[in-house]
Every structure is written in C-alpha cells, then in structure tokens.
C-alpha cells in the first residue's frame, strides 16, 4: 500500500477491501495443546506449533500417525477435543474463507470442469463476470482449458486432482492444505501437481501438506513437522531434518525402518 493520505470517510470501504486483499493474512496459525480423541482413543495429543507466513510445511510421519487428522483439525473440518487452533483474524468465518484444501481423492461435482471451479467462487459470493474470468484463468494456468466443458468425472485421475487444485487456486487462499495429493497418481501427474503447488507458493499461498513420499518431501519442504503415534516429535527446517533429525523416530523413519 502506497496510499499515505488520511483515509476519507467516503473511500474507507474501498480502502478496507484493498487492504484485506493485500496484507491482512490469517497467518500465523497457532496450534496449542491440540488433542483429538475418538472412541476413547487418543489419536492426537498435546500438539503445539506455530506456522508463520512463508515456508512450505510438510507434515510427515508413518501411516496412522495422525497427519490427515491434524490437517482436518487445522482446517476446521473437525473440532478438537482439547486445545485450540487459532488463526490471526477476528471472526472464524473470515479465516475459513481464506483457506482451501485438496484431498487425497478429489471430490468433484457432477458438472463440467469449469462449473466445478465456478461453484467454489459462487460460495464466496463473487459476481458472475469475475467468476468467469478467474475460472478461465486457472483453467489456463493448470493446462485444463481444453477440458473446460467436459464433465469433471470423465477426466483422468491426474486431471481430476489438477482440477481440484485449480478449484482451490481460484479461491486465492492464504493457506492451502494438501492431504497426500499425489498418493494415487503416476509420476507425471504427481509432477504436474507439484509444479502447480510450487507456483502457488511463489505467489504467496502458504502451503501445508502431508506426504509419506520422502523424495517429494525433499523436493517441496522448507520445514518438516514430524508426527508419530499422535504426537508431534519435531518441527525442523527441511535441510536439517533430512540430514540430522532431532529424534530417533524421525531418523528411523528416514532410514525406512520405523517400528510401528
């Protein structure tokens, strides 16, 4: 913002809008003493960390560690049974509107590819001309433009996941959660997804992703949150994590010999 003149009453509304769009991020995310219990079993316990704007965070850990659960709790799809998830904003509504999530298996509506993207924007109450423009834009940028009018569910698995990512991208979120987005894709499709995630990161979207693919984690991570048996064992910058992990479990995990 370069506008330094005092805000006049009549343009305070537009001022607020630009301001909100440019720098009132919902970050940092503060997770403190987070716990989740289901059927008497502690699935996550005593998890605390802060995520600030900037680096890409990869949540790692063996199957069943609670990675997906942690993403869902942060995104607000589940209510924690203890502890808190706090975003830097006033109303919780505003925070949820600035997040998006891509799931392991894309859930696409029984509509065309373009309509799937349009739907997400419609829920943000965006006027239709703007929706059309953004939809065109993300379809082009994800290489899906030629599928715009094709039923989304007839696309290949990789294209479907790309579309799910495009739908998230269209929302221009502050934070994007990705839950094993390439787990069921072939290497080429996985690479395409990684490229888009990288571009979104470059454009300022905070990436928080789970994966159990070590090579992918090494390619994408700036920092690693390592979870094991429902507990967070470390939050470490990526280069350090992959060379000298802090805890024995992470070392064993990286050697591929973690005991369950």
């Amino acid at each position: 913002m370069t506008n330094t003149t005092p805000i006049a009453a009549n343009d305070s509304a537009s001022e607020k809008e630009t301001h909100a769009a440019s720098n009132s991020s919902i970050l940092p995310l503060r997770v403190s003493n987070l716990g989740f219990k289901a059927k008497g079993e502690d699935l996550l316990q005593d998890i605390s960390f802060e995520l600030h704007a900037g680096p890409r965070t990869i949540i790692m850990g063996p199957n069943g560690a609670g990675k997906s659960l942690l993403l869902r709790l942060c995104h607000g799809l589940l209510e924690p049974t203890s502890g808190t998830v706090t975003w830097h904003s006033n109303g919780t509504n505003a925070a949820s509107m600035k997040q998006a999530m891509v799931f392991q298996r894309p859930v696409l509506l029984r509509r065309t590819a373009a309509q799937n993207i349009d739907y997400g924007l419609k829920l943000r109450n965006m006027p239709s001309a703007k929706r059309a423009q953004i939809t065109d834009d993300v379809l082009n940028r994800t290489g899906l433009a030629r599928f715009a009018d094709k039923p989304a569910r007839l696309l290949s698995g990789g294209e479907q996941q790309k579309l799910a990512l495009a739908r998230a991208w269209a929302l221009n979120p502050d934070v994007l959660f990705l839950d094993e987005p390439t787990a069921s894709l072939d290497p080429a499709a996985a690479h395409a997804i990684e490229t888009i995630v990288q571009t979104m990161h470059d454009e300022g979207t905070r990436i928080i992703m789970t994966t159990h693919d070590l090579a992918q984690a090494k390619r994408l991570a700036d920092e690693v949150v390592f979870i094991h048996k429902g507990r967070m064992l470390e939050q470490t910058p990526a280069d350090k994590f992959f060379e000298t992990p802090q805890c024995g479990e992470a070392a064993a995990f990286l050697r591929g010999e973690l005991r369950w």
Binding site: H75, L77, M97, Q99, V107, G120, L123, R167
Partner: protein, 234 residues
C-alpha cells in the same frame, strides 16, 4: 381368453378412433397425477434432503415415519382428505370435494412420503462423499441442499418416477375425493373400476391397456434419457 382379445380390439379401436371420451379421461388422469407429482417433488425433495443433512432430535423417528408412509393405503388418504374437505370439515368452505383439485391434493399427500424417503437415502449417500469437500469450500448444510439435489438429479428421477407410478395407478383416493363424476373427475383407474362393476370387462381392460401403455412409454422415455446422461455425468 375371449375377453382379452376383445379387450385389445376395444383398446385399439378406442385409440385409433380418437375416442373423445377416452382422451378426456386420459387427459384428466395425466393432469391430476402430474400435478400431484409436481407438488410432491416440491415438498419431497427438500424435505428428504433436509432429513439427510440436518441432525436434530427426532430425526430418526421422522425418518421411520416417512419410510412407513411410503406404504400408505390410498383409501385411507382419500378418507382423510374427504373428511377435511367435506362440507362440515375444516376446509369445507373451499368447496373442493369432488373436484380435480381434491384429487391432486390426495395424490400429492400419498406420494410426497415416497419421494421424500427415496430422496433422503440418495442425498445421505451423496453427502458421505461430498461433506468434507463442501465444508472446505465454505458451504453450510443449508447451502448444500440444492447442490446435492442437483448432483443427484439422475438418481432422483427414479424417485420421481416411483411417485408418478404410484399416483397414476391408485384408485382408492381419487375415487373417494373425486367421486368418479363423468366429464368432471373421472380418471382411468376410476373408469376401470366403474366398467368392471357394470360388467363391461372389455372396455375396462381396454382402459387398463392404455394406462399401462402410458406408464411404460413415460418410463421408457425417462430411462433412455437417464442412461445417456448418467454415462456422461457419474
């Protein structure tokens, strides 16, 4: 045996001669049943979807009740509507008894639970798949209702057809509240009942054949459209 061939001959003759009495009866049947379906769709789709999506005390009981009402006997519905619309009934002043409107009301009551119950099941299944993604996109449950109904559209066609089938085939309710008055409230099923009691089995069977033929063509048309659409959209 003789009756059956005679019936086919009668039916064919009625059809090719464009018998105006027959077409009047068929027309009224379609008008009454399709209107009832339209009303029941209006009630049943949102009601079924709401039952699938919202959790509230008594939801289980309402679901059981609506499922049970799918088997509602038409004569009972007819009787209840008759009591309500009769001169001394609560809505007697409207003077609706023995009019097509009364028949539409009765059939709509009869098939709304069918459409609601089937919709509830279809939408509940779809919600299992969609819930997380839709909440992530920022949709509340209320906003999800039109989305789910739209995305389940091809499956819901079957629910609507079930309702139409029930409405066009029933005789008990329309007989009681319509009265089978010639040129006013006579529909195919009540006409068949009348011809049977008069002993004109051939005409009755002829009408029956027309009724079945109509039902088969409506279902066949819907089926082929649905097949083609489903191949593309699921």
């Amino acid at each position: 045996m003789n009756d059956i061939s005679e019936a086919f001959a009668t039916a064919l003759q009625l059809l090719i001669s464009f018998d105006p009495a027959l077409f009047e009866i068929v027309g009224l049947s379609l008008q009454v049943s399709l209107s009832a379906v339209a009303i029941a769709v209006f009630i049943g789709l949102p009601l079924g979807a709401a039952l699938a999506l919202f959790k509230f005390p008594g939801r289980g009981a309402i679901t059981i009740l609506i499922n049970a009402l799918m088997g509602l006997p038409p004569v009972v519905v007819g009787l209840v509507v008759y009591i309500i619309l009769s001169r001394s009934g609560p809505l007697g002043v409207l003077g609706l008894l023995f009019t097509p409107t009364a028949m539409i009301i009765a059939q709509a009551l009869l098939i709304s639970p069918i459409i609601a119950a089937l919709t509830r099941q279809v939408v509940a299944d779809l919600w299992v798949e969609y819930a997380e993604q839709m909440r992530s996109l920022g949709s509340g449950r209320l906003r999800a209702i039109p989305t789910l109904l739209y995305d389940a559209r091809f499956t819901l066609v079957t629910a609507v057809l079930a309702g139409f089938g029930r409405a066009s085939a029933e005789v008990g309710a329309v007989m009681i509240v319509g009265g089978n008055i010639d040129h006013v409230t006579r529909v195919m099923t009540t006409a068949i009942a009348l011809e049977v009691s008069k002993g004109d089995l051939a005409l009755a069977l002829g009408l029956g054949i027309v009724l079945i033929g109509l039902s088969v063509s409506i279902n066949a048309a819907t089926y082929s459209v649905k097949q083609r659409a489903e191949a593309v959209w699921t």
